[in-house]
Amino acid sequence: MSYTISLTVNGDRRDVTFEDARVTLLDLLRERLALPGTKKGCDRGQCGACTVLVDGRRINSCLTLAVTLDGADVTTIEGLARGDVLHPVQASFVEHDGFQCGYCTPGQIMSAVGLIAEGDVGTDPERIREGMSGNLCRCAAYHGITEAVLDAARRMTDDKTRKSA
């Protein structure tokens, strides 16, 4: 039996047909849609390297079956920048050197975007660390990561206040 779904990935509509209902969103992105920016660290929901946004919420794409995403709106690390202009979280990771090997970085950034959007942690470093603790970094670039998220959170809140003012 085959399954066909239609979803939006980084703003583009994609129609996909599978023979196997067990294909994860991570494999769909990496192997079928040529979007290898999302990384596979553990493939079992325990490292966060595969974090993407589905309808604005951060999820582990290795734990999400692609067939369940008919009509969903998926954003990956490749879809975050607007042309040449980096998303504030991306810019902040560059500025604070929030990585070493970079393998966890796409997941960290997507997770940070999701976390900031959730709006519960504000700019409290302790809560940011807690909120990011599902994204492992074996290089332990945690200092830069926390600083980057904190800085981005501040900037994005400022922007919001300015816009609403």
Binding site: I77, L86, R138
Partner: protein
């Protein structure tokens, strides 16, 4: 000058946009096949029957290979030829590859690999230290023993004696990017291999042997790894060889990537150690004599275990002058994964032995452990000190080649047995020496300890903690300040060499290549800074390119923290050759001295005229001057006889100190790191931002090794902690709440690249401060010494608290 700047990592923009490519991200040609190993489910024994028919008929399977199907060498060992890619019939550990499935997809290969019907004849597995000692199951003929002075006499006649034992676990690398390789067959039997490896030359060598071609037919390329930490020094051999063999057989590109569980079950980890010690000391805690018996479980194959165990012996002194010392090292062969390189390479284990002794001595005497440590420090460096002895005259190449076995991989750290020993040196009179006879001439820990104790407010906090502990029966705090002295150089002396290739194009842009590999440590950035500064051009004029065995041959692994030391110097040599040619040309044109020509800020100033760097490149080209050069570097001053344990294996030492405070809940054994202050010696840092990142990352990883990261094998030899759910590496929230890291800003007294120091491994051992702080907190529960083993999981901490309380 572009050196010494806190620049971010190269490829930063690529990383944050997801465009940075790792091996698994390289687009593969259609028709690429995927590989998986079928692995053993027992730890020791023999295969009596192997039915692969179900595997062969599984969907998507193209071929299934056994040991007997391999056309050439069945060997992926970096050292002793004792590591077959596929087991013929003997099983040495649970997880050992037995057969190779080649299929149309990764999943198809993995599913098929599970379908074999294998019958075994089991034998008792050798798993523990005791099992191995009893069976005399070991590498080398017997224990390696180094002796300095008369230990028995010194210990027995000292006013106080202690003895004890510390066990410390291994450590899974958990590089976030798992092992991966991709082989693309070319014409005439050539093979291009993309491998996530710290040692491209070794991959090239093992692949060449496995496909029966000379090394020139194999090209290995690696742009970056998603973490290595030593786990990609030899553990990638199996995947690359498997891919190349399958690619040769099928004529199709072949790719292999370990799933995380497979990665953890198949590959080697840090060596676990058990160290017995005996020491004699005076009332101030100064050691008169000390004796260590180090035991390590090396796993089933030799791999790099010999140099790892050597380095543990070489760090049995850490920062302390041991006049009478005996170090005995047992390298045990067990039916477990073949333990391998991991950041520190045995150094952390050896160092933990003496740090435990310091802690135990202080507890016995009721002294501040820091006072005992300081009482035992090496003497301070003498300004202008004694010059080190001269290097031995180079040996004629014939004398070496006569002693080589053919096919020996001389670029591996494991190649100990086939390399003639270096000459041992005589220490200059009056200088304190390590137990292996190297003079310690650059000891800066006195000053560093003073500075750190002051900024961390050690003395006041120690008193405050004692008061808090007296008042609080449940929560106990502990604090410890521990030093690190780490030897820099490969202990296999001939590996201390590096090559580079630099081209300048007519437009002034620069292509740079060297033998080092990038795994997140920032090597490429540092070396590019060197190149840019030699030519006086902005950093973006330098193109950082993938490591490629066709550009720079016969490289050593990027390991032993040597990456920037070696490759920085080689790149500098190559750049200087080209720059000198340019300067000579301009000197001739302007009738001036070549030495007066300045290269800076993208310009070249010659005889009152200013050119852009690009103009000079064009001019040189038009004047038929070569704008391409190789560079080469070998570390000076090294002389080392590892059998006798005598000489100067290290060019210099890197230092550091950390002060950590913890709080322990004595009802549950749970704890937190409240604060850590670090002062680390990176010499004149090439890039303080990158170095601070290395220091923080190293500390966190070291603390992880000693606290939460626990490997558990069951009685059948199965690794039970083979996923992040059961094996806990530090997360963002585990970092100390207060974490201050500073670099000790002083030039290396040895002539290294811009007087910097290596920084990859030394900070790892700063994590020892956490274990010692935990010991301090537990000691507050009673009067008995806690004798805390590592990893100090909450369970182990709770058990130690019970022990201390029960003893009182």
């Amino acid at each position: 000058m572009t050196v010494a700047k806190p620049l971010p990592h190269d490829a930063a923009r690529l990383h944050v946009t997801g465009a940075a490519r790792y091996v698994d991200d390289i687009p593969t040609p259609t028709g690429t096949l995927h590989l998986a190993f079928g692995t053993a489910t027992i730890a020791a024994g023999r295969i009596t029957d192997l039915d692969l028919a179900p595997v062969r008929s599984a969907p998507g399977v193209i071929a299934v290979l056994q040991a007997r199907d391999l056309p050439f060498a069945n060997d992926v060992s970096p050292s002793a030829h004792d590591e077959p890619l596929l087991s013929g019939s003997t099983i040495h550990y649970l997880g050992q590859p037995i057969f190779l499935v080649v299929a149309t997809s990764h999943l198809a290969a993995r599913r098929a690999a599970k379908m074999a019907a294998i019958t075994y004849q089991k034998r008792d597995a050798i798993l523990s230290y005791e099992d191995a000692m009893e069976a005399d199951s070991r590498f080398e003929d017997g224990p390696r023993i180094w002796q300095k002075g008369d230990t028995d006499e010194a210990i027995d006649t000292a006013p106080h004696q202690i003895e004890g034992q510390i066990a410390m676990g291994g450590q899974e690398h958990f590089y976030l990017e798992g092992q991966a390789a991709l082989a693309l067959p070319g014409e005439d039997g050539d093979m291009l291999v993309h491998s996530s490896t710290q040692h491209p030359t070794e991959i090239q060598h093992k692949v060449a042997e496995a496909i029966g071609r000379p090394m020139h037919a194999v090209r290995v390329e690696i742009r970056r790894m998603g973490g290595g930490f030593g786990g990609k020094e030899s553990q990638g051999n199996a995947l690359a060889v498997a891919c190349a063999v399958a690619a040769r057989l099928t004529g199709k590109p072949c790719k292999m990537r370990y799933d995380r569980d497979d990665d953890m079950i198949i590959t080697g980890k840090r060596h676990d150690f058990r160290i017995d010690y005996r020491a004699g000391f005076d009332d101030a805690g100064r050691l008169a004599g000390v004796e260590f018996v180090q035991m390590t479980r090396c796993g089933w194959a030799q791999d790099l275990s010999i140099p790892v165990a050597d380095r543990a012996m070489l760090h049995a002194d850490n920062a302390y002058h041991l006049e009478h010392a005996r170090i005995e090292s047992h390298r045990l062969r067990t039916n477990t994964q073949s333990a391998t390189a991991f950041r520190g390479f045995g150094g952390p284990q050896g160092m933990l032995g003496i740090e435990r002794v310091m802690d135990h001595v202080a507890h016995t005497l009721g002294l501040d452990p820091l006072a005992v440590r300081r009482a035992n420090y090496y003497a301070p460096s003498v300004a202008g000190g004694l010059s080190a002895p001269h290097a031995a005259a180079p040996r004629p190449p014939e004398s070496i080649s006569g002693q080589m076995k053919s096919g020996e991989d001389l670029t591996s750290r494991g190649a100990v047995d086939d390399v003639p020993p270096g000459r041992a040196l005589q220490a200059p009179a009056g200088v304190q020496t390590t137990p292996y006879g190297q003079p310690v001439e650059d000891f800066i820990l006195h000053e560093m300890t003073d500075a750190l104790a002051a900024t961390a407010d050690y003395a006041t906090r120690r008193t405050g903690i004692a008061d808090l502990n007296a008042a609080n029966p449940v929560l106990k705090r502990g604090i410890a300040l521990t030093p690190v002295k780490f030897g820099i150089s490969f202990t296999l002396t001939h590996l201390n060499q590096a090559g580079a290739l630099v081209h300048v194009y007519q437009d002034g842009s620069i292509h740079m290549n060297h033998g080092g590999t990038e795994m997140g440590q920032g090597l490429f950035q540092k070396v590019a800074q060197v190149a840019a500064s030699r030519f006086g051009v902005p950093l973006d004029a330098v193109k950082i390119t993938a490591t490629d065995t066709a550009k720079v041959p016969n490289t050593s692994a990027t390991a032993a923290s040597s990456g920037s030391d070696l490759n920085g110097m080689a790149v500098k040599a190559a750049c200087d050759t080209i720059r000198d040619r340019m300067a000579d040309l301009l000197a001739e044109i302007h009738q001036t001295d070549a030495a007066a020509i300045r290269f800076e800020a993208g310009e070249v100033h010659a005889g009152g005229k200013t050119y852009t760097f690009a103009q000079v490149a064009t001019l040189a080209y038009e004047n038929r001057i070569s704008l391409s050069a190789t560079g080469f570097y070998k570390t000076p001053k090294l002389e080392w006889d590892r059998i006798r344990g005598q000489g100067r294996p290290f060019f210099y030492f890197a230092y550091g100190a950390a002060c950590s405070e913890v709080v322990v809940d004595t009802l549950t054994g749970e704890y937190r790191i409240l604060r850590t202050d670090i002062l680390h010696d990176a010499g004149a840092s090439l890039n303080p931002a990158l170095d601070i990142g290395q220091v923080e990352g190293g500390f966190v990883q070291g603390a992880g090794w000693l606290t939460t990261e626990e490997l558990v094998w069951d009685e059948d030899g199965a690794l039970r902690t083979h996923a992040p759910s059961t094996y806990k590496i530090p997360a963002c929230s585990d970092r100390p709440a207060v974490f201050n890291v500073a670099l000790w800003d002083a030039e290396n007294r040895e002539d290294t690249i811009y007087r910097s120091k290596a920084v990859g491994e030394p900070p790892f051992m700063l994590g020892i401060s956490v274990l010692m702080a935990l010991s301090d907190a537990i000691a507050a529960c009673g009067t008995t010494y806690p004798a805390l083993d590592a990893p100090a999981t909450p369970e182990r901490v709770l058990a130690a608290i019970q022990r201390v309380r029960d003893a009182d």
